[in-house]
């Protein structure tokens, strides 16, 4: 790893001003489980001179409940999210998603904010610089997407525009199903971004001098059933091939609301709105679930090698829904 300056900051303002002062040559570090690997492999053409350590900012590690829902500080560790009684009780998909991230060691240092901001796992993008030199691609601002014509077995089946890398965040999928918003602050003030708008085909919506301040999760409808499923090659300690978070509300025999979010299939987590619509007002028998699962992947446009992900996504949607009954 090349050397860099590691600067501790003690307030959000200081973090933002430090980012600003460094004029684009600084990056934020929290748990460091992703960024250190990015730097070690020197996958990006530009290498930061400064890492701004936000772990030293007090008061960003909270899980707070109020009347509208849950507020989660960006420095909350994934392990704490898993063990939080209120998260386990009300936001089962979120606890479930956090539980599947990496290893206990990673969950003990990895943060909620970091999990949302981690870089993609595309193997062309992540190709290390040390042997043969890093690979440049659309995501790095130079050249075409190498996965589009190359080995794309782990890439997007939805919504790739130019770049076909997928978002690896597990908790983003749960947060999308929960309708969460991400509050940020930066040189140009604060804003609140719905999870679905946080991700874009080449990364996320954060500006270089902006950081996540809070994750706001509205109370799910009372009696909502939730389920998170993640499919990996190796059972634990692996990134998703496909993940799915669903939330189902029943009124008597009939479904009054359903939310379906898919992960690792697109540049960001993806709501399957057509499938959700097909469940609303219906009795959830096997045929209806299968139909919804089919609709969830109807628009999929697999690449040359990842058609199998469509099948897995379809199966996972049906299973997650069925687990909510």
């Amino acid at each position: 790893m090349k050397s860099f300056q590691h600067v501790n900051v003690f307030s959000v303002e200081e973090a933002v001003s430090t980012l600003k002062d460094c004029k684009g040559s600084a990056r934020i570090i929290a748990g460091g489980t992703d960024i250190l690997a990015v730097l070690k492999d020197q996958i990006l053409p530009d290498y930061p001179e400064v890492l701004v350590n936000i772990k030293t900012i007090p008061g960003l590690e909270y899980i707070r409940e109020d009347s509208s829902g849950l507020k989660i500080g960006p420095l909350v560790k994934l392990a704490d999210l898993v063990s939080s009684p209120v998260v386990k009780e009300n936001l089962k998909v979120l606890a479930g998603a956090a539980q599947t991230v990496g290893t206990p060691q990673i969950r003990n240092v990895g943060t909620v904010g970091g999990n949302l901001c981690q870089d993609t796992r595309c193997w062309y993008y992540r190709y290390p610089h040390s042997i043969g030199g890093r690979l440049l691609c659309l995501r790095k601002g130079s050249g075409p997407c190498l996965a589009a014509t190359g080995d794309n077995r782990y890439h997007a089946i939805f919504g790739g525009r130019g770049c076909f890398a997928v978002c690896p965040s597990d908790i983003a999928v749960a947060l999308l199903a929960l309708g969460a918003e991400i509050k940020t602050t930066g040189a140009r003030g604060s804003r609140t971004i719905p999870v679905q708008d946080f991700f874009n085909p080449l990364g996320n919506a954060l500006e270089p001098e902006e950081m996540i301040l809070e994750i706001q999760v509205p109370n799910p409808p009372a009696e909502a059933k939730q389920q998170f499923l993640k499919y990996t090659i190796r059972k634990p300690i692996d990134f998703a091939i496909v993940s799915v978070a669903v939330l189902v509300v029943m009124e008597g025999e009939v479904c009054s609301e359903a939310r379906i979010a898919l992960g690792a299939v697109a540049p960001g987590p993806l709501r399957a709105t057509e499938a959700e619509g097909a469940l609303k007002g219906k009795r959830l028998d096997t045929t209806t679930l299968e139909e919804a699962a089919g609709l969830a992947v109807k628009e999929a446009k697999p690449l040359s090698m990842n058609g199998y992900k469509v099948e897995i996504a379809r199966a996972l949607v049906a299973r997650a829904l069925s687990a909510c009954l």
Binding site: P128, G133, Y231, K235, A315
Partner: protein, 791 residues
């Protein structure tokens, strides 16, 4: 079925009757080094790094296949803190090394043949400066097309990878090993049934935990070199590298501390790191520390040979296999390594031929294997050494035959397995006296699998299936020099030192050797210390590979200890005034048999012997019957003994997601005699887990010579949750020539897993999976193909 378990058990009891008085051998003794490893206090090579050492780094090839036009190191040399920059012109000796043939350059001079070829080396005062220096080296290349597929590379018009290879047969074909037995064409012409399939197995990484490291220290007195590195064959490392350093072998000392696993890889990778650290140390006259990063280990060091196998099998309607005709193409990668030459060292290529017919007595056989250069990492030894590939094909073929005949797959195997007096396809007569426990293994697995009970077939997307496979696997290397030496020494207090050049790499060899020495000498386990892997401290015990050490080196230890014991008994007979034939040593005491009152502590007898000019050291040696094998017809007696085994698995495959769960896993291995049953079970578990990784998830992805998955981030190996509980059965049919009857167990458990899972998949889905690994992608794609074909 012809197998009655009780009969077998009677027979085995009789075999073991004379081993009931063993005190140490056969006991479940805790591994000697386990506690230190668990506490983190065991010292591996990297733990010996000191602050005053220079740090070595290598600049590896940017392209997998290219001519080097120009190298400019001037800017790197000017960097403060850089002590030396070396290119090929700066080397002290031969620019080539290799276990079998010196075809791999220390530093590539004119051409790079894969991305692991170094083009320049740097020694600097710290790692940061060394890395910076690498960035300042400018190399100009003329890129050549990279070859990925050996089937393409062997064609006449393919780009030549080695212009003047010292051993290559023709073009990119390194070598060809053939086997012929009987009249194959006639057997196929007369066959009732012919099964023909293509099989593919992937290149995989050993994934040993400990990285490759070398500390190279110049010896100011001799002018020689000390190399400390994890190595599976210290004496060969010394022999292969002495010419590189322009030193005679007696000035090169190689020392391998405890090793964090090797699986065959550290037979070669130690040469890679030792050559680099060694030339830098000689150049700078300073101690140099050189370590490969995990990504470099993935890209540079050896891999398991990928293979492409065309397997034809002929049989009668009654289920007797009459012939096989097999062609195997191996991806050699860029250098020979342990791939095998024409004569005399056929190595991995030979095993693909030798095991092409499995554990069966097949009268007619033709097998041809081609080892072909590509621009991939060199393929080397890896647990099983070509056998897992061969068995994947032949055990899948047997399953297909059983299905075609509508015969139980176990019954079919029992009709064909080798029994006492039968010949294998390589012409060796299998002897009961060397241990032939295959039938017992099959019977036990069958029983534990509850094979007679029909499998419960489930509705829905989770389909159940079960599969079976068997193996025979040779103990030791089929080389003319096969054998081992060691030193055995009595200290004057009666404690014992064994010096042996084998490597403890997690397999439990220290413990097994200690048990063998203690049992032979009649001393306590705690009174024996085995010193390992130092070329200056012990004679050549051969490589720690080929499931050979417990057996071959164990016999050398028995030989050394027996010499010592005889000297002490001889001396004691004079002291106790008795015939030496009446003297014995047990539990640390010397006594006249039948007269317990004569017992003298061994320590005082040894001390007395010492002052009476009785030598207390002996060189123990053992050689098996000289191995034979001809690369022309593939006939011979390559190994003196064979381990046998059988495996059954029951799986659940999810047809919607492609997920495979192993729900039942039974493995029985005939090991002759378990010197330490705990070690044997651990070898079985570890080997089988490796087989599961190979079957389900591991595959090095190469495209145009470039590796896409070069770290554990995208190269999955099984976690504890991917490995099922295993039902392990140790079967013991003693080998008359093995120590206490032992045969090798290190590699065999890796062999049967993939075909057993493949056959279970077929059973569950009715679909042939002839390409490993069975990833969800492949499972789903094959199901789709099958559905499209049948709709």
């Amino acid at each position: 079925m012809g197998v009655i378990l009780e009969d077998l058990e009677q027979e085995v009891k009789a075999i073991h009757a004379d081993q009931n008085d063993l005190n140490v051998v056969g006991k479940r003794i805790k591994r000697i080094e386990a506690l230190a490893k668990a506490l983190g206090t065991a010292r591996y090579a990297a733990d010996l790094k000191r602050d005053d050492m220079l740090i070595g780094k290598a600049l590896f090839a940017k392209h997998p296949h290219a001519l080097i036009k120009k190298i400019d190191t001037s800017r790197a040399e000017e960097l403060e803190g850089v002590i030396a920059v070396m290119t090929a012109k700066d080397l002290p000796g031969r620019n080539g090394y290799g276990i079998l043939i010196p075809d791999k350059p220390v530093i590539a001079e004119k051409k790079v043949k894969y991305q692991g070829d170094p083009v320049a080396l740097v020694a600097a005062v710290n790692e940061e400066i060394a890395k910076k220096a690498l960035d300042l080296i400018e190399v100009e290349y003329a890129v050549l097309p990279a070859l990925d597929d050996p089937r393409e590379a062997m064609k006449d018009d393919a780009v030549l990878i080695h212009e003047n290879h010292p051993a290559a047969d023709k073009g990119n074909i390194l070598t060809e090993v053939s086997l012929t037995r009987g009249d194959v064409d006639k057997a196929f012409a007369e066959a009732d049934i012919i099964i023909e399939n293509l099989y593919e197995t992937p290149m995989v990484d050993h994934s040993y935990l400990e990285p490759d490291v070398c500390i190279a220290e110049p010896d100011p007195i001799t002018g020689g070199l000390l190399l400390i590195a994890p190595a599976q064959f210290v004496h060969a490392t010394k022999r292969s590298l002495a010419p590189v350093f322009n030193l005679p072998p007696n000035k090169v000392r190689v020392l391998s501390p405890v090793v964090g696993a090797g699986y065959g890889g550290k037979e070669d990778s130690c040469l890679d790191v030792c050559s680099i650290a060694g030339v830098l140390a000689l150049r700078t006259k300073k101690t140099v520390y050189f370590e490969l990063t995990r990504e470099e280990i993935f890209r540079n060091t050896g891999k398991r040979h990928a293979t492409y196998i065309k397997h034809r099998l002929a049989a009668t309607r009654e289920g007797k296999v009459t012939a096989i005709d097999v062609e195997t193409i191996l991806d050699k990668g860029a250098y020979v390594s342990m791939g095998g030459l024409r004569e005399p060292t056929h190595a991995v290529t030979q095993r693909t031929v030798m095991y092409a017919g499995g554990a069966y007595a097949i009268p007619n056989a033709r097998a041809k294997s081609y080892s072909v250069f590509t621009n991939h990492p060199y393929s080397c030894a890896m647990r099983g050494f070509g056998a897992p590939q061969a068995y994947f094909a032949v055990e899948s073929q047997m399953d297909e035959l059983a299905r075609k005949l509508e015969m139980d797959p176990i019954e079919l195997r029992l009709k064909n397995i080798v029994r006492d007096g039968d010949r294998t396809i390589f012409g060796q007569v299998m002897k009961k006296s060397r241990g032939l426990g295959l039938e017992e293994c099959i019977a036990k697995v069958k029983e534990r699998m509850e094979w007679e009970k029909p499998l419960e077939r489930t509705a829905g997307s989770r389909k159940r299936g079960r599969g079976f496979s068997t193996f025979l696997y040779g103990t030791g290397v089929p080389l003319p020099f096969e054998g081992a030496s060691c030193y055995a020494t009595f200290q004057t207090d009666g404690t014992v030192s064994i010096a042996v050049s084998s490597t403890e790499m997690g397999q439990g060899l220290l413990t097994a050797f200690t048990q063998i020495a203690a049992e032979t000498l009649g001393v306590d386990f705690d009174n024996v210390v085995v010193n390992i892997s130092d070329t200056d401290a012990s004679p050549d015990a051969g490589p720690t590979v080929a499931s050979r050490s417990t057996t071959v080196v164990g016999n050398a230890i028995i030989n050394g200890c027996t010499q010592l014991k005889n000297r002490i008994m001889d001396f004691a007979s004079r002291e106790l005034k008795a015939d030496s034939r009446d003297i014995d040593i047990k539990e640390g005491k010397v006594f006249i048999v039948g007269k317990p009152e004569t017992a003298v502590p061994l320590g005082s007898m040894v001390a007395k012997a010492f002052v009476n000019q009785v030598p207390l050291s002996a060189t123990g040696v053992w050689y098996p019957p000289r191995p034979t094998f001809s690369g022309e017809d593939g006939q011979g007696d390559p190994m003196h003994a064979y381990a046998f085994g059988a495996q059954g698995v029951e799986i659940e495959v999810d047809t919607e997601t492609g997920e495979i769960d192993i729900v039942k896993f039974v493995l029985a291995c005939d090991v002759g005699k378990a010197i330490n049953p705990v070690n044997v079970e651990q070898q079985m578990e570890g080997g089988a887990a490796m087989g599961i990784g190979w079957s389900l998830m591991e595959e090095i992805d190469m495209s145009n010579g470039v590796m896409k998955n070069d770290s554990f981030k995208n190269y999955p190996i099984p976690s504890i949750k991917d490995v099922p509980e295993m039902d392990l059965i140790i079967v013991e049919h003693p080998n008359e020539l093995g120590p206490f009857g032992a045969k090798g167990i290190g590699e065999p458990p890796t062999v049967p897993t993939a075909p057993a899972i493949r056959n279970a998949l077929y059973d569950a889905l009715g679909i042939k999976f002839n390409k490993i690994p069975f990833t969800p992608q492949r499972v789903i794609e094959e199901i789709k193909k099958y559905e499209n074909k049948n709709s």
